[in-house]
Symmetry: C2
Subunit: 358 residues, 2 copies
Amino acid sequence: MTIRQPREGGRARSGGRPTLEEVAARAGVGRGTVSRVINGSPRVSETTRAAVEAAVAELGYVPNTAARALAANRTDAIALVVPEPEGRFFAEPYFSDIIHGVGVALADTEVQLLLTFASKDRERRRLAQYLAAQRVDGVLLVSVHANDPLPDLIDDLHIPAVVSGRRSATEPLASVDTDNFEGARAAIAHLVERGRTRIATITGILDVYGAQRRLDGYRAALSAAGIEEDEALVEPGDFSEEGGRRAMAELLRRRPDLDAVFAASDVMASGARQILREQGRRIPDDVSLVGFDDSAIARHMDPPLTSVRQPIEQMGREMTRLLLAEIAAIDAHRPQTSRLLSREQVVLPTQLVIRSSS
Amino acid sequence: MTIRQPREGGRARSGGRPTLEEVAARAGVGRGTVSRVINGSPRVSETTRAAVEAAVAELGYVPNTAARALAANRTDAIALVVPEPEGRFFAEPYFSDIIHGVGVALADTEVQLLLTFASKDRERRRLAQYLAAQRVDGVLLVSVHANDPLPDLIDDLHIPAVVSGRRSATEPLASVDTDNFEGARAAIAHLVERGRTRIATITGILDVYGAQRRLDGYRAALSAAGIEEDEALVEPGDFSEEGGRRAMAELLRRRPDLDAVFAASDVMASGARQILREQGRRIPDDVSLVGFDDSAIARHMDPPLTSVRQPIEQMGREMTRLLLAEIAAIDAHRPQTSRLLSREQVVLPTQLVIRSSS
DNA sequence: ATCACACCTGGGAGCGCTCCCGCCGTACCT
DNA sequence: AGGTACGGCGGGAGCGCTCCCAGGTGTGAT
């Protein structure tokens, strides 16, 4: 007969960290009780709780997340998935604000945020694997294009998810979006009020639903003002500065008499401004310029840019709130209960910030 | 006698994902064999391997990371800890490049990168908890100040860690750094060569070791050139644009006759340039300007900025390489083996990129 | 034909936790 | 006094995996 040696508690790295059982022994209680204290269950007497807490403090006990995840089937982590290359991620203040909002919403929870990039196809596949391996309880998806298969894939995996910016009018996932239509409409109405009549627009990438909605708002406002549409005044951009320059040059070529430009992003407005300057147009005397996002660029532009503010940080907060709610809902569900997830669609208002460019 | 119902496989969320056991049954082999195949062990016959792989594919099996982490005591994840507020993180191209390098080094591993911010004290504590909970196998620390307790804390936890930028000449942790001294020395030597003699410097935050080294290099180069030191030509900045402006103004006030400025970062150089312009100094005719980092700012400045390039992406790669090596080393160690971690110190060379500002 | 040895393989034990069943004791009712 | 709740608690079972031992099978040497 062979006596098996106990396995030496995993790898050397475990470094002899205390376990639940050790805390229980120290406090003179059972494992279950310690677990209840750790998880804040009310079904523990005050005295016992105090004893356990003392033992936890003395031993410097920290629950092992892997064990907890395995036993409870939850990870207390959510992922923010960015389907863009790192470069763009860092370039756009948008992401910084979103993350900040998420951070705020997570501040008084125990939930950890993971950042994941998934621009290339290979990374996509890895991400799918990652999610299937149940490493997170839910997913926040930002900057999703209309034809991106990722959201549906995530949905198929039955992983709670919230997207920022609907992909279409009938977004099947829970989403948080800003009122792009109304924001654009207000911007144009403002230009009309200023007496502008030949108002051009540089659109975003139109397979992004929000960009499409901004264009819709532009059109609606013109028609409401009784101004006839003119396709020569609409030029697609790609949300980049270079795209803004290109589109602006093209618009000026086609309609040298334009008297206002609505760019679907501040970055594009900045590009447009360069071209206007180069061609000797004064802003706002000759041409009014309005952007979208109200980013730092808008405030620092010369002249300061009128822009449509999106409450991006709030979007981050809302997304997180929705996601945590979805996760909680699933947790509460027993299999027999019918699955009526909210799939809430939140639309946040925009606000026109008027500066001297218009 | 009561028959206990089996526990229904955790929560509803588990969504009936296949387990190792199910794959084993399907392939007609034992658990151990499937595990070996999944982990690429060579001790499996070709036929068996094929059968298992088929079963894995059919069932769409993905190993559960929590279970694996618990059993093997490793998570296959590392954390990049940024002890700065999100804002600065996004503002500095530095981080973007580091992350890119890390991504490259991780590309053909199964290791996942987590991004963590820990600027405020509260976040620090949470981070410590997080790390103690063994959620990552190791930590990359960037942008560490000399007096930051975080690294030592992490070291006490016996978690493998690599810092970017030593905190002192005798950094106890493994580290990757650039040769700040030599970079600064070369920049000054270049200015001397250009015939400049009254060379000022705007330093970084001097409790950052790298900033101190740049100042040391500045001094060494001057003394090597036989130029007498003049403390009126040294003004501390804080790595910000505003700090650069402030320091430049102060330098011009004290020494209106200066003929060159070496700024310890491109951002500060950009601030300095504004003040030089405002005061009517021509660059480089009246004053030569040199920066540090060779960031995008340097290339886009008017005139383009001479700057010391740091191989930041390579730093990210090196850091990751060191960290993975440390983790592997610990993994291989049995407790009885003495702990001789390398604690390697890598110093990467810098390169002076000469443009028209000098 | 026998033995030694390699190579594969199955499955027990255990990682540290959560969940839940059922026991114990006390307080309250009849 | 006995019965009945109920809050508090202990500990068994199990989450899905890895590790490792022992056993089986096949090969080549004796």
